[in-house]
C-alpha cells in the first residue's frame, strides 16, 4: 500500500484548501437551514479503506450514508460519503422544515448531502485549477456491507481513503455529519503533485 506521506507544508496546504471549501459548504448549509453554523478546524487523516469501513458503523443500519462520485481532470476522482448518525438524520427533517407531504426524509437527506458535497468539491477543485462533475447521489443503507458492496462496484482500487471529518454545529441543535472522501491511489498521487505545484509558488 502506498501512502500519502504528506510533509508538513503539503499537509498545511491541503488543510487550507479544505478549510476554504468547508467554509463555503457551511455557508450553503447555513442558508439552506436558515441558521448559523459554528465551524471547527476540520480533521484530515489518511486511512486504509478496509479499516475505515470496519469502523464506519459497528452495528447494522445505525446510520444514513449518502454516496456521490466525483470526476475531475488530471485523474482526480473519487467517491464522497456523507455519514449521518441516526439521531441526526431524524433531526434533519425537523431542521429542514419540509412539509410532510413534500419530500420523504430520504429525499431530504440526499438533497442536503448533494449540496454539501458539490459545494465542497467545487470550491476544492477551483483552488487546484480543476473542475468536477458528479454522479447522482445515492442513499445507502448505513451498514458496513452496503458501503463495502457499493465501493466494490466502482472500477477503482480503493486502498486508501482521505477522511475529512467536518462537524457542523448548528446553533440550536447539535447536528453532526462526517464527510469522507474515498480517493483511489492514482488520484491521491495527482493531488500531491498539484499541492507541490501550489507550494512552489510560495
Amino acid at each position: 500500500m502506498s501512502e500519502l506521506n504528506l510533509n508538513e507544508d503539503q499537509q498545511d496546504c491541503l488543510q487550507e484548501i479544505i478549510n476554504v471549501a468547508m467554509g463555503q459548504a457551511s455557508d450553503q448549509l447555513a442558508r439552506y437551514l436558515d441558521t448559523f453554523v459554528y465551524l471547527k478546524v476540520p480533521s484530515i487523516e489518511q486511512v486504509s479503506t478496509l479499516s475505515l469501513i470496519e469502523t464506519l458503523s459497528s452495528n447494522e443500519n445505525s446510520a444514513s450514508v449518502v454516496s456521490q462520485g466525483f470526476f475531475g481532470y488530471e485523474g482526480i476522482r473519487g467517491e464522497a460519503l456523507l455519514v449521518y448518525k441516526p439521531k441526526d438524520s431524524d433531526r434533519l427533517a425537523d431542521l429542514l422544515g419540509y412539509e410532510p407531504d413534500e419530500l420523504s426524509v430520504e429525499e431530504q437527506i440526499i438533497d442536503l448531502s448533494s449540496i454539501l458535497t458539490t459545494t465542497f468539491l467545487n470550491v476544492f477543485a477551483k483552488q487546484i485549477d480543476n473542475q468536477m462533475s458528479y454522479s447522482a447521489p445515492r442513499l445507502l443503507a448505513g451498514s458496513q456491507s452496503a458501503v463495502s458492496d457499493h465501493l466494490a462496484q466502482q472500477s477503482f482500487n480503493w486502498d486508501l481513503a482521505l477522511k475529512v471529518k467536518i462537524t457542523y454545529q448548528v446553533t440550536d441543535y447539535s447536528f453532526n455529519c462526517d464527510m469522507i472522501l474515498f480517493i483511489p491511489e492514482s488520484a491521491i498521487n495527482n493531488i500531491k503533485a498539484v499541492i507541490d505545484r501550489i507550494l512552489e509558488e510560495f
Binding site: D12, C13, E16, V20, M22, G23, D27, F36, L39
Partner: protein, 121 residues
C-alpha cells in the same frame, strides 16, 4: 510613514499568502502568530497598527481575539481574513470592531483596496 503589522493564522500557507499580497513596506517587518492566544500576547506587549486575523483557529479563535482586544481596549485596525463566509459571521466580526471582512483565499487587489480605504497605503 511605516505601519507595524501582525498576521494571525494557524496555517503557514495562509500567513504567507497574506505576506506576499502586502506591499513591501508593510510586509518587511510583519510579525506572525500561529493562533489567537499568541496574537493577544503579542498585542499586549507591543503596539501594532494593523492585525490580519483568521477566525477558525485552535487554542483561541478569531472571535475570542476580537473580544479580548475589545475588553482590553487594544485597538489595531483589524482585517478579518476567513473562509467562514456566513453573513452572520461577517456581521459579528464587524460588530466586534473589525474594519473589514475579507474572504479566503485572500486576493491581492481586495487586500490592497481595503488597505487604501483605511489609509495604510
Amino acid at each position: 510613514m511605516s505601519f507595524s503589522v501582525l498576521v494571525c493564522d494557524d496555517s503557514n500557507m495562509a500567513r504567507k499568502q497574506v505576506l506576499r499580497s502586502l506591499p513591501e513596506q508593510l510586509s518587511a517587518n510583519a510579525q506572525l502568530a500561529k493562533n489567537g492566544q499568541e496574537a493577544v500576547e503579542l498585542l499586549r506587549s507591543q503596539q501594532f497598527d494593523i492585525l490580519f486575523l483568521d477566525l477558525t483557529m485552535p487554542v483561541l479563535d478569531g472571535l475570542g481575539v476580537l473580544q479580548a482586544l475589545k475588553d482590553e481596549n487594544i485597538t489595531p485596525a483589524i482585517f478579518v481574513i476567513s473562509a467562514d463566509i456566513q453573513p452572520e459571521m461577517q456581521n459579528k466580526v464587524l460588530e466586534l470592531g473589525a474594519k473589514a471582512f475579507l474572504r479566503k483565499p485572500v486576493q491581492l487587489e481586495v487586500l490592497n483596496t481595503n488597505l487604501k480605504n483605511h489609509g495604510f497605503i
